[in-house]
Amino acid sequence: MNDVAQNQDRSDQPKIAALDLPELYRCVHCGLCLNQCPTYRALRLEPESPRGRIHLVRAAAEGRIELNQRFQDHLYLCLLCRACETACPSGVQYGRIAETAREIIGPPGSNLARAVLTFVFTQLLPYPRRLKLAATLLRLYQRTGLQRVIRPLLPERLRKMESMLPSISPRFFTPDSKTLPAIGARRAKVAMLNGCVMPLMFSDINEATVRVLRRNGCDVVFPSNQSCCGALNVHNGESVAAKQMARRNIDAFLDADVDAVVVNAAGCGAAMKEYDHLLRDDPIYAEKAKRFSSIVKDAAQFLGDLGLVGKFAPLKVTVTYQDPCHLAHGQRVRTQPRNLLKSIPGLELKEMEGSDRCCGSAGIYNITHPEMSQHLLKEKMQAVTATQAEAVIAPNPGCMLQLRYGSQQYGPEVKVYHLMDLLDRSYSEAEVSSSNEA
């Protein structure tokens, strides 16, 4: 709270100087990013495009415009999907421009919203135990019938936000402190990120990921001192706690002495691959961060590069694949997840139109910008419908929650799976059938 108040009181002068990022001068204003940007596609307004936002930051750095509410609105309407980075011929790292600009101008919204966000970013996310407590309370709220009593009493906007709350897993994933040994010949030793949302809402996916890794000859460890990755903080202009979390993770994972740090949430993986940038000015951690970032791998990327072993049972299902933005654009990983899917016998992959276009989830964007988020989700569900797939595969928790909500709201009736879900199922069924045969 104090931080926010201080930010507003401070003169804008140092902020303006800080906005003059070298990366800005890599943009030559060609405009090839425009049509790849979800918000530009929706509104057709240049201030809501990557080129427009870069122009605004540059104009602000030159002192030609003020750092006012409008400037902030334009910067925060961006989903940070980074589709523009894939499109940019000059290799402008737009995400870094936008994140740094957000860091300088601070979190979005009203004073109350800023206070709530700052609390979540600095007091909740960095502390797994507090987060677990919050999730337990939320689960209580969802399961005791309290939700049914309270929901109708809420004003409409809050009711909508409340309905976006994901349902909490009946049990949480608590990782073993011991090494989970490889099954069969040992091929690698990996450490896994437990994450903040994954163990609370998708405990089964973390379990599935562990099983798939072990079946592929990996010793799996969960370093006990790890914390949330800090991606949400970085995306929303909070950097102090984000850097703390990064340093803590670097220590925890480098101590584990592993071949790779495996992450099954695309947003977290992208953020962790960029710790080297986040901590570039940290005299103690800059070097360690580089070493750490170089061994971070998305689960699909790691397994795809390693090559799957073992027996698969056929899964007769038609699926379509949603590229999580922070996997396709943030990490440039597109082929491995598709190859892994194709390695499951009987599974048919039908590509949807614009599979690498954002679904509107984008961290907490679906809560801060419900209108744009729902617009994009509706379009996404139309693309899914056109494929006639029975399931959507999206290896990122945010996308999964959003797509499940989309299926309920707009149809079609599809299952939403994580890639590791399907691999695990195929492996398990093969095991069951071979033990039956025996």
Partner: protein
Amino acid sequence: MSRDPLIHELRAIVGKNYLLIEKEDVIVYEQDGSIFQVMPEIVVVPGDVDQVAAVVKAAKRANVPIVPRGSGTGLAGGAVPAEGGIVLSLARLNRILKIDLQNRIALVEPGVINIDVTKAVVRDGYFYAPDPSSQVACSIGGNVANNSGGPHTLAYGVTTNHVLGVEVVLDDGQIVWLGGEVPDTPGYDLCGIFVGSEGTMGIVTKVAVKLMQTRESVRTLLAIFDEMDVATRTVVDITAAGIIPAALEMMDRTTIEAVETGSPVGFPRDAEAVLLVEVEGLLEQTERSMNLARTVCKRNGAREVRVAKDDAERQLLWKGRKGAFGAMGALAPNYYVQDGVVPRSKLPEIMKRVAEISKQYNLRIANVFHAGDGNLHPNILFDMRTPGELDRVIEAGAATLRACIELGGSITGEHGVGLEKKAYIGLLFSTADLEAMSRVRRAFDPDGRFNPAKLFPTPVSCGEMRRQPANIPAGLWI
């Protein structure tokens, strides 16, 4: 004079979300793909043709200039509001209204993105031929305004060869059709006059375009050279051998460096020049032409010739080529591109002249161009923040254009004149020519309010330019 009544009126027409007057909004419309910047006072983004017509009428009553803008990817400052006033963005008029494969036409709104026309018909075996390098972003309306070309201009011609008719809003707000949906409408070719008029005659609101049938086979090769001179001579020899490629493109060492630094596709960084040769047609014919092109390249001394083995490889080559301008940011904060043309046979000579100019002005120049039709694109790399550098850049640019004219060429192949080359148009046309053109323009736009201060040299007779633009940064005004 207060703009308030006009703003009020415009807001009523397009709605509050699509009328922009705050500095934090309009400032992003001060620039297109070029280096020119002038901030508009008002930006309107109408949603249909009736709103466009109402905006035009309101602007006429208030006597305020209107500058149409598509995607803002133009390279000659055409969408920069040189005299302030209203920027009218056509980005929301982006519907494909009709696809008629039997008659091979499509009716589209001006804000439709070039590549989306092809995407809409490619599964049926058709495509829209003009393919500017910015085709993933540029609009059909902008293509019409600039009579845009692209790598495949060599085989298919420029935009005007593919537009059958346009619906336009005239200066008094009337909505009329010029040309139609069938070829060869009788009377004056008013559609032909409109295409390439750079927004100085009215606002295009619908475009009827031709669709072409995709060829049975297409093959693309990349020839790698250790000497620029050998590469340019090869261009001449390929066409002399009787091959008519669909596209024949050249990139020099500096361009390759930009592409490979910005968004790598695998061009060899150590080559002095590469040629991209594409042939298409019936399978047998394509094979024959490809073999012949390969032989010519080899005979002339190409270090290596790579033929794309599948569509993915071919797309990658084109991605590198088409992203080349945008990739200049990987080498320098700014680039200034010229668009001169020479007869193909003069290519070896003009490239020597460009190299001399680069040395003389001490500026890096990256060459990437449509070699097949002699259309140069020397990209002069610089940093706007270095005092005095821009002046040198502009002089060097002018020197390349003068060299083109001396070799029997012209000052623009496809980017349009816009702000950027208006000072040089006098090198090509006499005062009488310009006066005649200016009269044609005034037949459509008597007040000179549509995209003023473009195309014609400043000042021309008969009060074409009503006033010297006041707010262009001194260095940018040529």
